[in-house]
């Protein structure tokens, strides 16, 4: 394993020290591994909390700031954070209007956020709602599984709900909005390589030079199926087809197309993928009105990409365009 680290056991803690030093606009509680907007709680505003395992950077801490999240909890690499962290963060971002938990749909995350909500209810009088994000169409038969994973949809959900929260909307309105954006989103990912969890020290799985995994998540896990290495053109088809088969994306103001890099894939290739994806959407009569290309939800040093499509209506488009100032997404301020 070749990585920039000291003791793998200290990776998350030391990286959070770096986040703290690099971002005076954030505040880090190292004991609880919570990263806050420096000015949290924002009085009168619903607090937005997310988080999850580490190794997905810029998710999650890269999306804290005006117009997006108020805090995130960081877990160990690929391991959900724990209820105590979440309860502590919930308490500290409650500006009097309640707190919305934006939960990525993984068994561990859901259970830990559930317990956190129970804790918060027992210990404080903060009103908490939770919305689970589950956009990954690679997970079929979701009745017989842990349900669809939360992947790329988190970015539009957190951005759009973040903008609406700044407008002073209520907790239940924001929860509805989060569900709406999530329902409007579908994703599918693929891997050229696995990734190396530092504590393990070797790649999670082996992938021969001439094979790729289709339908992966964001934890270096194997995907739904293994196929021979294919051209970007064919890979785009393998990602876009199941997304479009799962939901109608025509109509509205058009869509947000998000081509996400899994960590080790150069932007040069991601833009080439975007070209292929856009051509397929074009053929399907779907109109990309906003675009995001780059590594936003990564899986350590995995090479590969995912495609997320979010249908935008007029309101969602305006909220997407509203100002945001985070380390990972910034415009208008």
């Amino acid at each position: 394993m070749k990585k920039l680290l000291n003791d793998p056991a200290d990776l998350v803690a030391e990286s959070l020290r770096g986040v703290e030093r690099a971002h005076p606009e954030l505040r880090v509680d190292h004991e609880n591994r919570i990263i806050y907007r420096a000015d949290a709680p924002v009085s009168g505003k619903v607090g937005l909390l997310s988080g999850g395992g580490s190794g997905h950077e810029p998710a999650h801490a890269g999306f804290i700031g005006p117009g997006m999240l108020d805090a995130v909890c960081a877990g160990e690499v690929f391991t959900s954070p724990v209820p105590d962290q979440m309860a502590e963060a919930t308490k500290n971002i409650d500006g009097g209007a309640g707190v919305l938990h934006l939960v990525w749909n993984y068994t561990g995350d859901v259970m830990n956020f559930d317990m956190a909500a129970e804790l918060a209810a027992a210990e404080t009088d903060t009103t908490v709602e939770a919305v689970v994000m589950n956009d990954d169409v690679a997970v079929e038969d979701s009745l017989f599984t842990a349900g669809r994973r939360g992947t790329g949809a988190a970015i539009p959900v957190e951005k759009i709900v973040g903008a609406a929260a700044e407008q002073g909307r209520s907790l239940s309105e924001l929860a509805d909005l989060a569900r709406r954006v999530n329902d409007n989103s579908r994703s599918m990912g693929m891997a050229l390589t696995s990734c190396t969890v530092p504590a393990k020290g070797s790649p999670t799985f082996d992938l021969p030079e001439d094979e790729i995994e289709i339908g992966i998540g964001i934890h270096g896990e194997p995907g739904r199926r293994r196929v021979p290495l294919a051209s970007a053109h064919d890979i785009a088809q393998m990602l876009v087809d199941p997304v479009l088969a799962d939901r109608d994306f025509t109509g509205g103001e058009g869509v947000l197309v998000f081509v996400n890099g899994m960590g080790a894939t150069p932007m040069l290739e991601l833009y080439l993928m975007y070209n292929e994806v856009a051509a397929l959407l074009d053929k399907a009569g779907i109109v990309p009105v906003r675009t995001l290309v780059g590594p936003y939800v990564t899986s350590l040093d995995m090479a590969g990409c995912s495609v997320t499509i979010t249908r935008l209506d007029d309101e969602l488009l305006r909220l997407w365009d509203a100002p945001v100032a985070t380390a990972g997404l910034r415009w208008g301020m």
């Binding site: 391991t79 959900s80 954070p81 105590d84 068994t107 259970m111 842990a146 969890v197 393990k200 998540g217």
Partner: protein
């Protein structure tokens, strides 16, 4: 015997911690095949934290011991296994009825309460390829052996054997819960990591109770 005393229960947790530490890489390797390669690290982090509080301030009775173990696991593990193992111990605490030493049937009932907590939290059914597939047959075997009048040590041995069998039987199963479920058919042929750590938990119990009786 006068039931499983607080010392033996602490030895149980220490023995479990020791075997998790020893099997850490093996548990992680199982999780790499059908999950995200962290089950060994997760369980080891949690059980090391349990051993740390045992060293520092050993709780006075089994209820306090289980409660603190559960809280420690919930606080330090994360992932799916943190809430599940945490809930298991948290639910065992009240089931002890405040006893200083647990009679065999009380110990068995406490474990059953723990399993019920795991199922309530995780909604897994038998055959979903989870820790439940080791825990449930183990507790059934424990109850049956105790009902047949066997001493606790023997009954726990039977439970541990049943956990091992349950663990082995996860291999051909198709996962329906947790991360492994994302793999669909590809989860078949791999042993479940959580069932594997659960089998270690039962083996540790069987071993320390046998030692207590031998002593």
């Amino acid at each position: 015997m006068a039931g499983v005393d607080n010392d033996t229960l602490q030895r149980w947790l220490r023995a479990f911690a020791a075997s998790v530490a020893e099997q850490k890489d093996a548990l992680t390797a199982l999780d790499a095949a059908i999950g995200d390669a962290d089950h060994g690290a997760n369980m080891d982090r949690g059980m090391a934290a349990v051993v740390a509080f045992l060293d520092a301030t050993p709780p006075a009775d089994p209820a306090a011991l289980f409660k603190q173990t559960g809280m420690t696991l919930v606080k330090s593990v994360g992932g799916a296994s943190g809430p599940l193992y945490g809930t298991l111990f948290l639910r065992m605490a009240p089931a002890t009825g405040g006893a200083g030493a647990l009679e065999p049937d009380v110990f068995a009932k406490a474990l059953r309460a723990g399993l019920d907590g795991v199922v309530a939290r995780g909604k897994a059914e038998l055959g979903d390829k989870t820790m439940v597939d080791a825990l449930a047959p183990a507790l059934d075997a424990l109850d049956a052996a105790l009902a047949a009048g066997e001493p606790l040590a023997e009954a726990l041995r039977a439970a541990s054997d049943a956990a091992d069998r349950g663990r082995d039987e996860t291999t051909p199963m198709l996962a329906r819960k947790g991360r492994a479920s994302y793999l669909g058919e590809r989860s078949i042929g791999h042993q479940d990591p959580g069932a594997t750590s659960a089998a270690l938990l039962l083996a540790a119990a069987a071993s320390v109770v046998a030692d207590q009786e031998a002593a």
